[in-house]
């Protein structure tokens, strides 16, 4: 107890005021407008005419402290030591002197870091741990992300233009830590085989009632195996969500032959124009093909190009598809429509087409 008293706890994070450039404090809440100056560079103008330049650099998210120190050095060199990260894991250098913009970009380029992602562009991929850290992963995260960002890079750095923003996200299992459920394009790691239950361990490590109630489709029943209490999985009712595994380590689903990724499209978060939307299933399954997941990168590039060629200005992926209708999208994308695409969970009936408004 004495120990406990001495320890400093519950102090929370440092106050942002201590970490924010003076120009942000001075113009706090009174910014007037912004303009995008070139790919990856924008200026915010304050009520008094103050100008804050932001240079957004590509963030791998998984960064070493050695890289972070390089960023700190650049911040010192060009930004009076101030920088921030974005909600999508990019690095933003906050400059007050516009002559510093190009030298900063040159230094970044020398480190292999490009700038971009502002405005009607693809920015970095919100993602998760994958094989780097998580026990649940049905695919890797960082590897797929790197492979995809490499192919869509011209849409990040402004080499190629887009009608609007396009957000890609990845989650390596159905827990969806990447919150991929509302992304223009989502990559979701999936299992496709029911859990392999280790009957000798279940009763020891897990609480059977919790395991039973964890299953969204009621596929799990308590049972006895060789006299030991355990659980039985009704395989036809299992859709491999791994929620049982989350609460019970003795029910792993990982399986190199059948794990892989699915592709989802048309979600969004912002309230601009249309209300937020969930992403919808486009491609039910692509096998894991490390190190560069070529089938995944191909299809994503194709989807981006299709949207870029057909959408109107500002029209997000889902808005475009809603305009042309989903059957038309399937045709244009050359994706075969399968049983898997048809919802069969709780609110499935509401996804049925309850109208004759069809593009024949």
């Amino acid at each position: 107890m004495a120990e406990k008293v001495k320890r400093v706890t519950d102090i929370g994070p440092p106050h942002h005021d201590k970490l924010m450039p003076p120009i942000c404090k001075e113009n706090y809440g009174t910014w007037k407008y912004h303009e995008v100056l070139k790919p990856g560079v924008m200026v915010h103008v304050g009520a008094t005419g103050d100008k804050l330049y932001t240079v957004r650099a590509a963030g791998a998210r998984l960064v070493s402290i050695y890289r972070l120190r390089q960023f700190a050095d650049l911040a010192d060199k060009y930004c009076d030591g101030y920088l921030r990260f974005t909600s999508r894991h990019n690095i933003e250098f906050l400059l007050t002197y516009d002559a510093n913009i190009d030298p900063l970009i040159a230094d970044l380029a020398a480190m292999g870091v490009s700038v971009g992602g502002i405005g009607a562009a693809i920015t970095s991929i919100v993602h998760t741990q994958g094989w780097v850290h998580c026990h649940s992963a049905a695919t890797d995260a960082s590897g797929v992300v790197k492979a995809v960002m490499d192919v869509v890079h011209p849409y990040f750095n402004g080499e190629k233009k887009l009608p609007g923003k396009l957000r890609i996200a990845l989650a390596c299992c159905l827990n969806m830590c990447g919150a991929v459920h509302c992304s223009d394009i989502a990559i979701l790691g999936i299992h496709r085989k029911a859990p392999r239950t280790d009957h000798t361990q279940v009763a020891k490590i897990c609480e059977i009632p919790n395991v039973v109630s964890a299953c969204p489709t009621a596929a799990i029943r308590p049972t006895q195996v060789d006299g030991t209490p355990s659980v039985e999985v009704i395989e036809e009712q299992c859709m491999y969500c791994a929620n049982c595994f989350t609460v019970c380590p003795s029910m792993p689903l990982n399986d190199p032959e059948n794990d892989g990724v699915s592709i989802w499209v048309g979600g969004k978060v912002s309230n601009a124009r249309s209300e937020p939307m969930f992403s919808k299933l486009a491609i039910p399954y692509i096998p894991n093909n490390p190190p560069r997941w070529p089938e995944v990168t191909d299809v994503i590039l194709k989807l981006v190009e299709l949207w870029a060629a057909n959408a109107k200005p500002f029209e997000r992926m889902g808005e475009w598809i809603n305009r042309i209708t989903w059957p038309k999208f399937f045709k244009m994308a050359g994706i075969e429509f399968q049983k898997e695409h048809i919802d069969d969970f709780k609110h499935a009936g509401l996804t049925f087409k309850r109208s004759t408004q069809i593009v024949h």
Binding site: T9, V63, R69, A72, T86, K146
Partner: protein, 397 residues
């Protein structure tokens, strides 16, 4: 240090224009056994197409129930450096602002006590210190607090609140997202560090309906800025946008969800009485239009990922709220919700699922809010109404 392992597969991921996480791991591997063995094990995963981590155990720092994710390799003999590979979640500063000094503080601590690898940031928003062994947890924590940092959440607790850059750099912020984030983080330190709920609880704050932290998609309480008076309009600037090639009619007026705008080629008219505060016209013409002056926020509740009952978006709980320090009204509301949910929620039932199970009407009654039409997209379509006759009788009196 031993040599880096052969990683022919991972090496492929050092090619291409996007920054490579493999390069990052290799950089750290020069100095950290953890990173070196991570590289080896990851190459093995790439070859075998399967992860090599065991289901996490419970580890942590003294007195805290969350903030550390325990992780163990299932190949500890081959890769002893990652036999323990626990992650610390650290509260990020609101808006993810850093001085180079603060950043270096973290680097120094993690150079000494961990793998040298981080996520800047995790997808909840924390600084994620990726990979260390159990004995290093306490010392890391001690150093962090010395530098003014503290752990984030994990398990059934409040997670580190996060917010968009808001008033610090954005002209559209309708309230002080950073201030509220800091205040909530500080007010709920206990709930953050000591799991006490049926399941996790996330706060996310966005300054306007563009929702740059995706609050509506991934926080149990989503506080999103908005306004309720007229859009501020500068007609001269509108004309400049037109002159510079913006197709105001097709790209702005026709995209207005409220269909409340008119453009005759000269002047833009907005019928604010019907404006839905969607931001689109403002986004398209930041120099000409701006959110009104009577600014505040909409409070929404309940979003989450799919497990167990399907993914949810947050839905409106308070249509318009005027945020004012110290935000007592908000905290009263939050605590009323926590009371009901803690009492009646099932194990691993997020608040959004809880509301669906008990019904929004009953939930509102329990937390003491009146129903408002803004809470629903549309009223019920089915006639299965539970009529409360006692009310009628009241009215009759």
């Amino acid at each position: 240090m031993a040599e880096l392992p052969e990683t022919p597969l991972l090496d492929e991921l050092e090619k291409g224009p996007w920054p490579s996480f493999v390069t990052e791991i290799k950089q750290a591997a020069e100095h950290h056994e953890e990173a070196r063995d991570l590289l080896g094990q990851l190459e093995r995963s790439y070859r075998e197409r399967i992860g090599h981590w065991k289901h996490g155990g419970i580890v942590g720092v003294l007195g805290y129930g969350g903030g550390v994710i325990g992780r163990y390799s299932d190949l500890p003999d081959d890769f002893p450096g990652v036999s323990h590979f626990h992650t610390l979640r650290v509260n990020q500063p609101a808006g993810w602002f850093y001085t180079s000094k603060a950043l270096r503080d973290i680097c120094d601590i993690w150079e000494e006590h961990g793998s040298g690898l981080t996520n800047m940031h995790g997808s909840t928003g924390d600084i994620v210190l990726l990979g260390t062994s159990t004995p290093e947890l306490e010392p890391t924590f001690k150093k962090l607090t010395e530098k003014g940092f503290d752990l984030g959440g994990s398990g059934s607790d409040v997670r580190t609140p996060s917010c968009c850059v808001g008033p610090a750099r954005c002209e559209w912020a309708c309230y002080d997202t950073l201030g509220l984030t800091y205040d909530l983080t500080m007010s709920y330190q206990d709930e953050l560090h000591r799991p006490m709920f049926p399941y996790k609880w996330k706060f996310k704050m966005s300054g306007c309906p563009n929702d740059c932290v995706a609050a509506i998609a991934r926080s149990d309480l989503s506080i999103i800025g908005t306004w309720r008076d007229e859009i501020v309009k500068d007609d001269a600037e509108v004309r400049k946008y037109a002159d510079n090639g913006l197709d105001i009619f097709n790209d702005v007026v026709l995209n207005c969800p409220a269909k409340c705008m008119k453009w005759d080629g000269e002047k833009l008219e907005i019928d604010d009485e019907y404006c839905r505060k969607c931001m689109h016209c403002i986004n398209a013409m930041p120099k000409a239009l701006a959110p009104g002056k009577d600014r505040g926020a909409t409070i929404l509740i309940g979003s989450k990922a799919p497990i167990v009952e399907g993914a949810l978006l947050s839905s409106v709980l308070v249509p318009f709220w005027k945020p004012e320090e110290p935000y007592e009204d908000l905290k009263d509301l939050v605590e009323a919700i926590w009371d009901v949910w803690s009492e009646e929620g099932k194990n691993r039932e997020r608040v959004g699922e809880f509301i669906q199970r008990v019904g929004m009407g009953n939930f509102l009654e329990a937390i003491g809010l009146d129903p408002e039409p803004e809470m629903v997209a549309f009223p019920r379509e089915n006639p299965y109404v539970f009529y409360d006759l006692s009310e009628d009788e009241d009215e009759d009196e």
